[in-house]
């Protein structure tokens, strides 16, 4: 086919003009689609057009991104932290949250002293006398009822504080709290150590998405807590939050690692700075969280 000279010349000039004004497009890389911004995201080739985003993206449990008030942040602040929609056909590696009755923030109420002896003090660290032991006034009173301590293990995945692990399960959950790094796996909290990880006490305030099977629901007055592995939790929107052991809580099992302490001539257990008084509940051996001053 013979192309007229004028057309050839025009095409050449057009190509040269395009080259002159064409800004190179692929020197940088924005590689993922961002449907929340209404589109965007490119490919690698020079000729890749800006791709329109399908509007059928899964909806998220948050409002569509709105213009942010003037913020000094370089991007206006993260808008997806802890709020992801899993309403797709996915397998999510998180245990389902059990139905929680009355998740209520703990608020140990008024206490009343029930013991106040004036016996002589001994110098032995495991023996304390002339000590006040408090029980909350809004719960059924359980008298002291000694029974021997049998350290409890919550299955093969659970380890007591101080246990060293060379590695963690692939699904261990990492989080930071108060500038400390933690890993959470099956109700156990770890911190990095030389050559591996040490089991540590659960940090107060930490929130985990699920608790392993075997947790106890503990009622203290009108409030409900969850107990697993020596740690108490309350239910929150994101899952379960570690809280201080509520005074008056009754549990049946105390983890390995508790120490025995004589208080006013009676034997108590101390675990993670929490005092447990041996009691009997419905004819069964149990322990009550008490406050000791």
């Amino acid at each position: 086919m013979i192309v007229p000279y004028k057309i050839k010349f025009s095409v050449v000039i057009y190509i040269l003009l395009i080259a002159a004004v064409n800004i190179p497009q692929t020197i940088f890389a924005q590689r993922f689609s961002h449907p929340s911004m209404g589109g965007g995201g490119g490919g690698m080739s020079h000729s890749a057009p800006a791709m329109s985003r399908p509007q059928s993206s899964p909806s998220f449990n948050r409002p569509v991104a709105q213009p942010q008030p003037q913020s000094r942040s370089i991007n206006g602040g993260s808008q997806n932290f802890g709020n992801h929609n899993f309403n797709r056909n996915t397998t999510v590696n998180v245990a389902p949250r059990p139905v929680a009755p009355h998740p209520i923030a703990p608020n140990p109420t008024t206490v009343r002293p029930i013991e106040n002896t004036t016996a002589n003090m001994h110098r032995n660290n495991n023996v304390r006398e002339n000590v006040n032991v408090y029980h909350p006034g809004n719960v059924q009173y359980h008298p002291y009822s000694y029974h021997p301590y049998h350290p409890y293990h919550w299955g093969p995945s659970w380890h007591p504080v101080g246990f060293f692990a060379a590695s963690l399960a692939a699904n261990a959950f990492f989080f930071s709290l108060a500038n400390q790094q933690y890993y959470y796996d099956d109700g156990v909290y770890y911190q990095p150590a030389t050559g591996g990880y040490n089991v540590v006490s659960a940090p107060i305030g930490a929130i985990v998405s699920s608790l392993p099977d075997g947790y106890e629901t503990v009622q203290v007055g009108d409030n409900y807590f969850y107990y697993y592995g020596g740690t108490f939790y309350i239910g929150v929107d994101q899952g379960y939050q570690v809280v201080v052991a509520p005074i008056g809580a009754i549990v049946t099992d105390i983890p390995d690692g508790a120490t025995q302490q004589d208080i006013n001539g009676e034997s108590y257990l101390v675990y993670n700075n929490t005092y447990y008084e041996p009691v009997s509940q419905n004819g069964e051996d149990a322990y009550e969280v008490v406050q000791v001053n």
Binding site: Q30, S33, M37, G40, S73
Partner: protein, 245 residues
């Protein structure tokens, strides 16, 4: 009997298809990316060096590896400077909340457009309209994790590994048209250190790889850093929207 067999086969095929469509999302990976996203969202300024290598398809030679190094400076909410050196020469982008300027020192040319008032909205609009992308800009999106989850079929935490001696969380994922891997620093800042993407739907599976290093968090930049000063005899050219090409 034939009808029953047929029904069983249909059920098996449907089940297989459903399994193929299901995906595996690792909440550990999400948690790591969330931490990173929060950290980036709380920065008021930063700078980072991005060393990128990417494949370009050549009809005769297959995939050719190209590279460039970019110095990226960001000051929230509306200032950006990128200076890049690489196989395609030197170039820079200046953004001050009102205009975006592209400058080529090699050709002594610049182009200028009025644009949106925040860094991410500018990047998103310029990318859509002109096909221009910015180094590792995906990490800047405040909805980065949600956006990843919107497309991702699989997202897995692979463990801890090292990148240039720096301990990192290693995450991998797949979408319909690519596989990707992130390395996020295992330290107090949880910042992206490396990204690798393989485009599985393109011929010869081209790759993109970028290493992000020398992060500086919340430095103080002079405003003049983000203002373009036209050198003598510089020629003005135009940005061309992709739809007109």
């Amino acid at each position: 009997m034939n009808k029953k067999l047929f029904l069983i086969i249909i059920i098996c095929v449907l089940t297989t298809q459903l399994q193929a469509q299901s995906s595996n999302i690792d909440t550990v990976a999400i948690s790591i990316l969330d931490n990173m996203s929060v950290m980036i969202g709380e920065m008021t300024s930063c700078s980072v060096t991005v060393n990128a290598n990417y494949d370009v398809h050549n009809q005769e030679l297959g995939l050719i590896k190209r590279s460039n190094e970019s110095q990226v400076y960001l000051e929230g909410p509306d200032k950006l400077l990128i200076r890049s050196e690489g196989d395609k020469g030197s170039r820079a982008f200046y953004y001050n909340g009102k205009t975006l300027i592209y400058y080529s020192p090699d050709k002594n040319q610049f182009a200028q457009i009025e644009t949106l008032p925040t860094i991410v909205s500018m990047i998103d609009t310029v990318s859509k309209t002109y096909g221009i992308d910015f180094p590792a800009a995906d990490f800047l999106y405040p909805t980065f994790v949600d956006d990843i989850l919107a497309d991702t079929k699989n997202l897995v935490y692979l463990g801890i590994t090292k990148v240039d001696g720096k301990e990192c969380f290693h995450i991998a994922g797949t979408t319909e048209d690519k596989t990707f891997q992130f390395w996020i620093s295992n330290d107090a800042y949880s910042l992206p250190v490396k990204v690798v993407i393989v485009y599985t739907k393109k011929e010869l599976d081209p790759q993109y790889e970028a290493v992000l290093s020398d992060w500086k968090i919340n430095p103080v930049f002079p405003d003049a850093l983000f203002e373009f000063k036209a050198p003598p005899k510089v020629k003005k050219i135009k940005f061309v929207p992709v739809s007109k090409k």
